[in-house]
Amino acid sequence: MNTPVVKVVNLKKVYGKKNEKMYMALKKIDFEMQQGEFVGIMGASGSGKTTLLNMLSTFDSPTSGSVKIAGDEVSSLKGDQLADFRAQKIGFIFQDFNLIESLTAAENIALPLSLQSVTANEIDKKVAEVAQILGISELLKNYPYELSGGQKQRVACARALVHDPAILFGDEPTGALDSKSARELLSLLTEINEKHRTSILMVTHDPFSASFCNRILFIKDGYISRQLLKDKKQTRGVFYQEILDILGTFEQ
C-alpha cells in the first residue's frame, strides 16, 4: 500500500507560553489521508481548524504528537530542510490570497520556484502549464490590482500548484469570494483533484464548499468528532443535504 499523504497521530496543540494562560486548541487528533483524496475540515469558529491546518502545512509546530506529510516527519525538519520541504511538498491557498502587489500574476505564480533559484526557462514552462490548467493564461501579465477576487484566488492557486506539491492546503479559500467565483474555484479544485490526482485538504465552514469534497472531518472541542464520506454514486446536492443534516445535529 502507498504511504498516506497525511498521517496525524495523537496530535495536541496548547497555546500560551509557560507563565501565560494556557489554551488547549487541539486535544487529540488522529487521521490519515490517502494520495488523491479531496478532504474538507469543518467545525465551529474557534474549534481549531486553522490551528490544525497550520501544523499540517509546517507553519506551526505541535505541542506533541506526530505529523507526517508524504512520509516525512514534519517536526524533525529544521532550517534549510524545512524551507526545501515547503518549496517542494507543500502548496497553500490563503483566504486573503496574499499576492505580492508589485509583481505580475506570472511572477507571483513563479515565486516558489524563483525563491528556490530554478532556471528562468524551467520557470516559464511551469508557469505556462499551471496557468493553462487554471484558465488564467490571459492574465499572466496583469498586476493583482487589475484582477477580480476570483481571478486573484486562481493566481494564488496556481502559485500553490506550480511546484507540483504533494498536497494542496487551503484555509477557507472561498471565504473572501462571491458565490459565483467560489463555485468556479471549487469546480477548478475538483477538476485538478480528479484529472491530476492532486491531494487537497481544505478548511471551510461553508457547507456548499464542503460538498465538493470526497470526505469531511468535523472538529469539535479539540477532537475529530465524526467524519462523512461521499458515496461515489451520490450527487453533490445529496451530499450537501447530508452535510447540512450533520451540522444541524451539531447545533444541539
Binding site: D80, A83, R86, I100, L115
Partner: protein
Amino acid sequence: MLRKLAVGGLKNRWKDYLILLSGLIISSAIFYLFETLATNSRFLQANGEVVSFTGYIFNFGSILLMLITFVYLNYANNFLLNMRKHDYGLFMMLGAKKKKIGQLVWVETILIGILSTIIGIALGILASSFVPRLLTKLLGITPKYYEPFWGKAILWTALLYLGLFLLGAILNTIVMVRKPALKLLKSEQTVSKSFMPWYLQLLQALVGILLLVAGYWVISNANVLKQSTIPASLITLTLGSYFLFNASIIVIIDFLRKSRLAKKKIEYFYVGAAKI
C-alpha cells in the same frame, strides 16, 4: 528576481518609505551643511576670528545631530522592518531559505540608505549655496573660500549615513531570520502606530519649539552672545526645525497622502529618485 522583489517592495509602498526617507534626507542634508562649515579649514582661517570660532560650534552641532539621527534611524529602521514583515513571512512560507531572506533584507535596506544619502547630500549642497549670502547679510563680510560643493563634507556624510544603514541592515537581517514565518505574516502592517511612540514625538516637538524660540532670541539679542550669535542661532534654528519636522512627520505624511496633488508630485519625485 531578487532585485525585482527588493525594488518592488520599495516601489509598492513608497508612500510609507517616504516617512522613513524624509527624516533621514533632512538630517543628512543638515549634517552636510554643518560639515561644509566645520571641515573647510581654509575658509575658517581666512575670514577672521568670528568665522574660525564657528568651526568648533559646527563640529559640536554635527556630533549632536549624529546622536539624534542614531535614535531616529532606530525607529525608522524598526518601521521599515514592520512594513516588510508580511511579505518576508510569505516568502518563508513559500520556501525561501534564511539566506535568501537575509539577502533581500540587506539589498532593500542598503538601497534605501544609498537613495536617501544621495538625495540628502544633493539637498545639502543646495542649502549650502545660500551660506555665503547669509554670512554677508548677518556679518557684513564676503566670505572667502567657502565651497558649497565640498569633498570632505560629502565623504563624511556618506560615511556616516551609509554606516548607520549598514548597521540597520545587519540588525534587520537578524530579526527577520529569527522570527517564525506565521508570526511575520500576521504582524500588523500599520505605519503610524509602529513608527515612534507619542511621548517621543511630543518631546521632539517641545525641544524643537524651544530651540526655535532660543534661536530667535539669540538673533534679536546679538549683544549678549556677541561673536557666537551666528553659529548659535544657526544650530538652534536648524536643529529646532529638524526636531519639529520629526515630531510632525506622521501628520505631514498623512496630509500628503490625502492630497491628490501632492500625491502626483511625490510620484514624480519617486520616479526621478528611482532613476538615480
